[in-house]
Symmetry: D2
Subunit: 342 residues, 4 copies
Amino acid sequence: MTLFINDYSEGCHERILEALTRTNREQTTGYGTDPYCEEARAILRREMNCPGADIRFLSGGTQTNLIAMTAAMRPHEAVIGAASCHIFTHETGAIEATGHKVLVIPDDEGKVRPAGILAMLEEHDMAPHMVKPRVVFISQSTEVGTIYTREELQALHEVCRAHDLLLYADGARLGVGLTAKGCDVTLADMAKYCDFFCIGGTKNGALFGEALVLVNPVLQPDFLYIVKQRGGLFAKGRLLGIQFAELFRDGLYYELARHANEEAMRIKAALTALGARFQVDSPTNQQFIYLTAAQADALRQRVTVDEQWRRDNTVAVRICTGWATRPEATDALIAALQQTLQ
Amino acid sequence: MTLFINDYSEGCHERILEALTRTNREQTTGYGTDPYCEEARAILRREMNCPGADIRFLSGGTQTNLIAMTAAMRPHEAVIGAASCHIFTHETGAIEATGHKVLVIPDDEGKVRPAGILAMLEEHDMAPHMVKPRVVFISQSTEVGTIYTREELQALHEVCRAHDLLLYADGARLGVGLTAKGCDVTLADMAKYCDFFCIGGTKNGALFGEALVLVNPVLQPDFLYIVKQRGGLFAKGRLLGIQFAELFRDGLYYELARHANEEAMRIKAALTALGARFQVDSPTNQQFIYLTAAQADALRQRVTVDEQWRRDNTVAVRICTGWATRPEATDALIAALQQTLQ
Amino acid sequence: MTLFINDYSEGCHERILEALTRTNREQTTGYGTDPYCEEARAILRREMNCPGADIRFLSGGTQTNLIAMTAAMRPHEAVIGAASCHIFTHETGAIEATGHKVLVIPDDEGKVRPAGILAMLEEHDMAPHMVKPRVVFISQSTEVGTIYTREELQALHEVCRAHDLLLYADGARLGVGLTAKGCDVTLADMAKYCDFFCIGGTKNGALFGEALVLVNPVLQPDFLYIVKQRGGLFAKGRLLGIQFAELFRDGLYYELARHANEEAMRIKAALTALGARFQVDSPTNQQFIYLTAAQADALRQRVTVDEQWRRDNTVAVRICTGWATRPEATDALIAALQQTLQ
Amino acid sequence: MTLFINDYSEGCHERILEALTRTNREQTTGYGTDPYCEEARAILRREMNCPGADIRFLSGGTQTNLIAMTAAMRPHEAVIGAASCHIFTHETGAIEATGHKVLVIPDDEGKVRPAGILAMLEEHDMAPHMVKPRVVFISQSTEVGTIYTREELQALHEVCRAHDLLLYADGARLGVGLTAKGCDVTLADMAKYCDFFCIGGTKNGALFGEALVLVNPVLQPDFLYIVKQRGGLFAKGRLLGIQFAELFRDGLYYELARHANEEAMRIKAALTALGARFQVDSPTNQQFIYLTAAQADALRQRVTVDEQWRRDNTVAVRICTGWATRPEATDALIAALQQTLQ
């Protein structure tokens, strides 16, 4: 039975494995000082039109977020995010464990808005009795699959500049975000508007790995110390460089993300035709719907999706495609939905 | 101009100063090992009918809360409180700085309720991706001046027992709580229903100091190491023992709290007669009202109260009496309110 | 020019890549809940004769050590190690960053001895003013290439039992330790005498990965929360399970380690014949010598070794073989040493 | 039996109690914003000839040190001290609990020397695998009673400037340091050569309290947030301001310290005449000697001193006078020493 529960159920795109195999017995120095990491950094800097970016390759998302936050804040500083953001809900208090409070704002689309930031600043003006907001944390795409447009990013950038805040984007699902229909944001825009952000490999074709991009020079000094201290400095750093070079050398990253989105849009169209009740309007690889308990139970007999919660007769369900989703599996899922929801 | 902005604007009750003066040149050993701390502990244990309680004297409220939370939780554990609770709003992220998330529940009366705890547990059942609730944090009296009845305490106690949670009460304002009209809770009840709690001296007649009571034996081993490590082990611990012995030897603590409440009730009666709009119905020394901007500005010419926030034409105001509030000052405040609000 | 600077200069044994390729498009659930992790755990539990062991697969050594220490200690507790131990010297204060002090004992062979532990306990008996030792940290093999015998492990085990200490072994180089000439310790002995330990994959044939073994049940509850919180919970956990299953299914792990040791012993014999001055007598893949500055400069023209430090005319050099060291490269190194040192 | 075990066995100088009594019922605002704190800051700034100094009053020594270190360092930075320094030996790992490693250098006189700093920097040049030294921690007077001369302070200042290090002086016993015979350092010198330091009240006539002086502007921004977060922001801050104003208004602080030193010098002279074996040559209120077990046992019958450790037949003893030591008690101690050691 095919899994539609997340976008990391498979290994990686075969070109990654081929590249790893091809380079396997070469000797290189460790910790990201090798030529493959250099190549990947050069490719990414060019693509994001940002020659001064410091780029570090890390192995997982929670690790990336906690290292980024650790390096960016003094002890009394805090990060502002949406109430649904990953660091607030699904990282076991990793940010608090580094000593920092996460201040959240409810939002149906999982976004942080300039007005929310301003209100949060106003609520925290009672120095020194309250934490001092320092970072704004967004996700592109968000936890509920929505995307920030260029205009929205620019507006966040401006409010951050005006109030001495740093803008961070969690790009664990950056691929599907940038390639979504209606998204006018490029990698270069990410680098233009964010002080730092990450590019997720794990959920988009890599075996594993995230690229953390430090655009703002204030974030760069001594950064690698923090990486090492928090257990994020990969001995065989080249494994990450090889992967990111492969993903970005000729657009494979975007191609894979586009595929995930296309399969999701097919599912979304089918759901719309079925009159399904959506939790949110998502243009990316995650689709969120409500089912009745009976529908959910019936669906479960035929396909595996992600049941988020169940209360009374309502079941919240997430359907997630990925870079590796087979079209026939999508066909089967759609058939199952049709039989279940009709 | 008299201050009604808090309950720690003066020094201490004169009996405290006299006791400090009387014992001043005596030599004792340090860190709470002296006979005065022993005496204070004995008095308190008797009063709370809890011979097994471990009692530690600390110098301030934030310190007390952060030490209690540090000792009680493993790194992945979290504390549940009301959205208005002091550790969430006014301690500069002290709990997060020790590594722990504070999970909050909005409540108009500033209370944590059993249903809220159960909902929070349900929301956090996705181990290991979410923090694990371990402590329930309440305040007696609360941040908005309300009190928990014995029945409410018992209900919290039971839900905590049933779900392996520890119940902590911040008693920075325990005196006014226990002596409020309508409060049927005694110090012995606090010890019966809470796993740990503190008895605030700073806001009720002491020069400074809080007594942290560890009722549940699971909290006692090695506790003093944590006190020392977080900078809370007072060299001249006797200063704290002397104060608490004096406050509890013959009921001075309650007498002072009753006075604060009585002055507050006079103000409350006057406000009620004036048709004032209360934020909440508080039976203790803090009264919370809404004024118009014009009223607040007029009042400010005659007396100093605590302006919490001001939006559009609404000003939220806290009026706070204390153990040292002079009746004539209360009279003057009431007169000012009458002239302003009529 | 061949690198003899460490044991992680290459990728991995080809069987690992083959297994990853073979399973690549399979779908599994995440976070180590997949069948490959189960298989690897079953193989390891059988091999270590310890059915109750909790085994977690992590991605790197510093991460493994910091997660293990975080989970094992309360805030006031400390870890005892040799002055040369990795957590004290080369992990950027990762253990201190989790809040714990590392207490160290100088030792020429990089070992912790029972007498040293007892002395450390005696020095720290001034509760609550000093940290409380809780974990004894050893490495097998050690940072200077030496090994603990079974008798030594048993003695440490006993002193730890007697003083309520937990014994942890960093096995980043466990393979070369267990297969060294003169080592009578098996994986089952590790599980018998240690409360917890790790089995390093990164330096012995894996692409990356460490297996953390929790033998003592006191360490097991809620452990995975800590893994997640510190960024160590691999989304595609199966990547680690696949590797460890492959390494331990039929002894590949030991075979690779034996090769590394054999190449090192050839180098050691050559050095001995040349009258080289050894820093320490190491039976494993790391050989430590002193050279003159002239010798070091000459050697550097022909081969790349790890120059540790240089003072006056003395250069401390580490020569490190690995599972992938080609015999011809070793021949060339020996020839270079002969030309340089004679 | 008089205690000579430390310098905080009594309360405070009577002028402190009188000032507290005189001001007791006055109302002031909290957290150090009151006129008494302002006055104390003005007096101290004038005395140290440093109008730009930010001065914060805290309640205890461990608290002061941990707040100072927390504010001064980023997560990967470390502090260098003497092996005997208080933060390394007697603060229960408080600095490590804030995340920072304490790097120590053995020294018979308890001092940090420029050469030791340079060696430590050289040992830690392997970025990013090692912590980065950032603060040099000294004590004036030191843990073993010795003092830094102006020349020594200046040399430390210069090596710190040259290597981007911050110089911190723990002045828990600053009074006896500055007034010791042979000490040419003034409070103004402390401010000139240190980036930050504290002035201890607890051990020199105050009821309690330390003044933390931030000279270097780089340390000043947002400092009070850290104070609050770590539980060090005293609600009734004025209690501290009143005490420091009293101690420094007309030289009471120095007068009390001189007394402690004089009594200690009488004891030292007697010990010298008796041929006692000193651990170190201390010009301040702490005298350190070795006794035989028989001598220590005999002495203990007559007077209470601080037995540090006992091994074989040797007992290390600290004799500590204070601002409150009665001359007759010193006479009795000297008589006891004469009877015991002769």
